[in-house]
Amino acid sequence: MSEDMRNRFASVTNDLLDNNERVAIVLADISGDKFKEAQQKHPFRRLNVGIREQLLVNVGAGMALAGMRPIVHTFAPFLVERAFEQVKLGFAHQGVGGVLVSIGGSYDTPAYGRTHQSTGDVAVMATLPGVRIHVPGHPDEVESLLRDAVASEEIVYIRLDATTNAAPRDVTDGKLKLIRKGSAGAPTIIAVGPMLDRVLEAVTGSQEDGRPRPSREAIEPLDATVLYTATVRPFDAAGLREHMTGDTVAIVEPYLEGTSAGVVSAALADRPHRLLAIGVKNIEFREYGSIEHHDRAHGLDASGLRARIGGWITPIAV
């Protein structure tokens, strides 16, 4: 399961390299083994600059200036946080585009610790105007989003994750998808990317594919509308206004809690609303172990989500 998004990214990129001579991939040693054939077939369009992330990003930007469509790839903290000035000035300030694809996410390899984790990458990228940010929830979504990103001229950030949903959705239009409709006045929960299956489990009390839940405390089902998106910038404000049932909305994101609270609230600026932003807590969590251990610590497993949402809506229940 882990590596599925990364493998799909690699296979689609290799296909793009074979069939679109404007496409180039720029690497900084990471994932090089997945592009070995490309090194022989397309030596000028498959570049490895070594462990030099500032150069990684600016080589991508320079290739864009020269008329190429670059895909730039490494771990999220190194691509976005370490080299952010290059993203800001090499791409955005020059007015050229490229596709930035990260792996590692918030804690995909927990034993690596904080240095290989980025919970702030989406928030930092969102400070640049006009950037499209995708958080796919399934390898099929990675494929469609990556192909569309390469066909555009925008700056697109695609954040791959080791956790995936059981089933893909059609995310090509970038809009919020209605997954489950609650009754009038029910809270609306926006699930971002890989959070969808856990949000559905929190709401329905059972897993997406009908599997019995692991032996933990039972989850009492919740009347809620569930929306799904793999695109957090631009945020589909019109879709939220159309599908919301009532005035209570939660957004559940697999990175820093609150990252999209502003755009959600802005979508509802003309009306009273209650907003709960759920995500990875803003703490230094100095433990290793499994992804599931970190999910539980941040309250991002299904039980944790159910408890957090339940505690929030109970005082305001009808």
């Binding site: 180039a24 369009r45 600016n58 080589v59 585009g97």
Partner: protein
Amino acid sequence: MNDNTHATTLDRPPTQAYTYADVSRLMSYMTGDEKHSASATSTLDVLWVLYDRILRVDPAKPDDDTRDRFLLSKGHGPMAFYSILAANGFFDPELLRRWCRHDSPLGLHPDRNLIPGVEISSGSLGHGLPLAVGVAGGLRARGNPARVFCLVGDAELDEGSNHEAIAVAPRLVRGLDALTVIVIDNQSSSLTWPGGIAKRFEVEGWSTATIDGRDHAAIEAALTEPHPGRPRAVIAVVEKKS
């Protein structure tokens, strides 16, 4: 937005031949940049030779895909650069008088989105050289033989990002020999460069030359000497920044 076309619609003057002597007069149209004036004139002779004898660029077609790319990374004090662009017909020299005003396309740091003939928007040091490596790599990937020239300063080389680019350019799949970097050395780096700047490039495999940055013949010779298979670094030494 991509593929290097920028929406620049500045009026171009009727064709007029400017000489080197005219450039100083054009620079006087701009005022108030005392802090960067030394930087501005340190580039003057290299820029003049580049535009007079080296660069294949056409002010009537600033986005032509076959043009040589000149990237000014030493972004502070662009007066010489603006004057030479104006002298070469990229825009009306009268624009120089209004630089830095709110509605002027000419700021203290050039913006490729506002000024025809400007390849990169500069200002933060250490970005131009890495971008130039990318531009050279991209042109090569497209089979485009246009050359890439990048101007940096010796103090700008303090920035570590330059050294990532210096290490990689000769090694990026057979070497980027369409790339030439010119370093204006006015000894303004605070911690200096023991052994000289050229050595920093040589050890990485660049073809190098260290010359008098005020000698037009020497500048032209250094920029036209062949360097097959390797990028080129020309260190142009000028008087120490006062």
